[in-house]
Symmetry: C2
Subunit: 338 residues, 2 copies
DNA sequence: CCCTTACTTGCAAGCGTATGCAAGTTTGCC
DNA sequence: GGCAAACTTGCATACGCTTGCAAGTAAGGG
């Protein structure tokens, strides 16, 4: 039963004081001789410093709180995995909170996070209300929003270039000769959903056109399916649909192909956003905008770590380039290279 | 900056002793008058007990360590979400460790977990070597293996009835009149992979037959694709393939359809295992064995909580029934009802 | 060789909470 | 009204660790 080995036990065995043991394990200076005695004794007893006791004094727990709302979107599991690895490399662990997107629930989680005095917070796919933003800033815990922007100033965030990516999709679809372009939008309560819609509309406007239909798909499969059915059930149904994320795009494709008997891209072109792994699977072969998860994760961790080290640092909004990935779900303009 | 409010501050404001505050928040008895004064003061100051200080004394951190290996298999994100909710209901948080499946890496994570003195550990999709098992038992931290069994005794585990499920698949495929039945197996280093293989072979043996081919797909998409190609590249290719999990089954279907130009189930029937959400999507419409995630999660949490409450309780191996879900990826025998 | 400077090391004081103990207060019952 | 029992409450200590401080020791320079 080695779970109760304390630094004092090690000290006794090594014949030094308890503070010597502490110094060896906390990286403070100690003579080579002492260090060796301590390490030897510690190894023998299976000693590891108690992180909670350490946290109480230093005020740093080595724990990052991660708040996640959607796990059905396969974008987030891979983000979680990458975040976990990247933070581990920096010496942090992840305390996970899954949460619905109701303000009350988010607030209660934030409460808990401040109680736990985590060293930092990352929220993924969580919309922050403004008062929550304030409370976080007030609690003084560094926080970075992953894949969500924040209106006004306040918190750091890392997103991809949602508007530019969507704009590129617009150009691409126009260049492909599509006449009636529609958009199953991402959840309009989220910045990603709004930015993609705005960028898309702007891109179409540049070409002197506009979407024939825009329906909020709420980042939900069922809603996306319903949106698709509604769009197609008109006199002049769209011949191209830009979908607010891949997860919904799969639903759109399924609906077009298996419920309406249409061909993609023969009858309707479909373009998504995210480039989750599944998008490359031959069953969908989805043309989509790639969010560079790895770079987004790296930036997130980097920003958070910097903010922990230097609490007064101004919040940053980082935006990672996102590029269109050409696959088979959308008609491709002749000679399109990008 | 309310992050440094202590029980002493609350005590002063409320005009009571620090221990009174502690008692109110730890549920010990206190008079109604005191409780009210304390709560009022606490609310005013925004006080929340410091979980780490509490953990130091009580020895319980309220944190469960979750060790996960595969996140590319969509079975685990949903399990994580459900686990998170179920544990939250019991008052626990989840500290996540993602890990490769190398023994060294697992060992280092276990080390960390014992250092953190988590109240319990859940491993998902992690194979435990026997010496690791011992070390965990010795550390005295309750642990439950989720979706992995354990040879010999030692640790509690929750799995579905992998062998029975696979046996049922065998009967189903035989009854469907398939003549050459193959198996892209789950990773043979994992209990689930082995149990499903054994159950499947046993089921076929009952019918007086045997698989025409068995290849380990390692729970990996690429390996499953390669296995499929190898199986089909023979004089008498299989007319049915049972795949060790859904995630690989999608790869098998993609390979059959898009690389080999075959029809599923026309030319080859495919059956998976897990029933991840995607299996129900029309693009795959996968006949598969449903692992009742929710019930598995509930059992896992229940077992873990029981073991925390009563440390000397004997480890249990819980096995949840798994039933075949009929969809469109496999030819269905006339009048098959189950 | 002595004095200054730089390191090591042990001592002791906390970090914020829970809890045994004793003193004080209320309640209940005859 | 008085006494025992039940309940509250404050005091003080402990949990395992880090860190300022002072004393002790090694190194360095004239």
């Amino acid at each position: 039963m080695n779970s109760q080995v304390t630094s004092l036990d090690v000290a006794r065995l090594a014949g030094v004081s308890q503070s010597a043991v502490s110094r060896v394990f906390s990286g403070a200076s100690a003579s080579a001789a002492t260090a060796q005695k301590v390490r030897r004794a510690a190894a023998e007893l299976g000693y590891r410093p108690n992180p909670w006791a350490r946290a109480m004094i230093t005020g740093r727990s080595g724990i990052i709180g991660l708040v996640v709302a959607y796990f059905d979107n396969p974008f987030y599991p891979v983000a979680l995995e990458l975040l976990s690895r990247a933070l581990k490399a920096e010496g942090y662990r992840i305390l996970v909170f899954t949460v619905g997107n109701s303000p009350a629930e988010i607030e209660s989680v934030m409460d808990e996070l401040t109680a736990y005095r985590v060293d930092g917070i990352i929220t993924a796919s969580v919309a922050m209300t403004n008062d929550l933003t304030d409370r976080c800033a007030q609690a003084g815990i560094p926080i970075v929003l992953f894949n969500r922007g924040q209106d006004g100033v306040g918190l750091s965030s890392v997103t991809s270039a949602n508007d530019a990516g969507a704009r590129q999709v617009a150009r691409f679809l126009v260049a492909g000769g599509h006449q009636r372009i529609a958009h199953v939008a991402g959840w309009q309560q989220s910045s990603t959903g709004r930015d993609r819609l705005l960028g898309f509309e702007a891109g179409l406007a540049e070409a002197g056109t506009a979407p024939v239909a825009v329906i909020d798909g709420l980042y939900d499969r069922d809603a996306a399916r319903a949106a698709t059915l509604a769009m197609m059930d008109t006199a002049t149904p769209p011949d191209a649909i830009f979908v607010g994320n891949d997860h919904m795009a799969f639903a759109v494709m399924d609906t077009l192909r298996h419920e309406l008997g249409l061909s993609v891209p023969g009858d309707v072109s479909v373009v998504g956003f995210d480039d989750v792994p599944m998008a490359a699977w031959p069953a969908y072969d989805l043309t989509t905008v790639r969010q560079p998860v790895r770079r987004m994760v790296d930036s997130t961790v980097e920003t958070l770590v910097a903010q922990i080290a230097e609490p007064d640092r101004a919040p940053q909004s980082i935006r990672i380039d996102a590029a269109l990935v050409l696959r088979g779900s959308a008609r491709c303009p002749e000679g399109w290279t990008e």
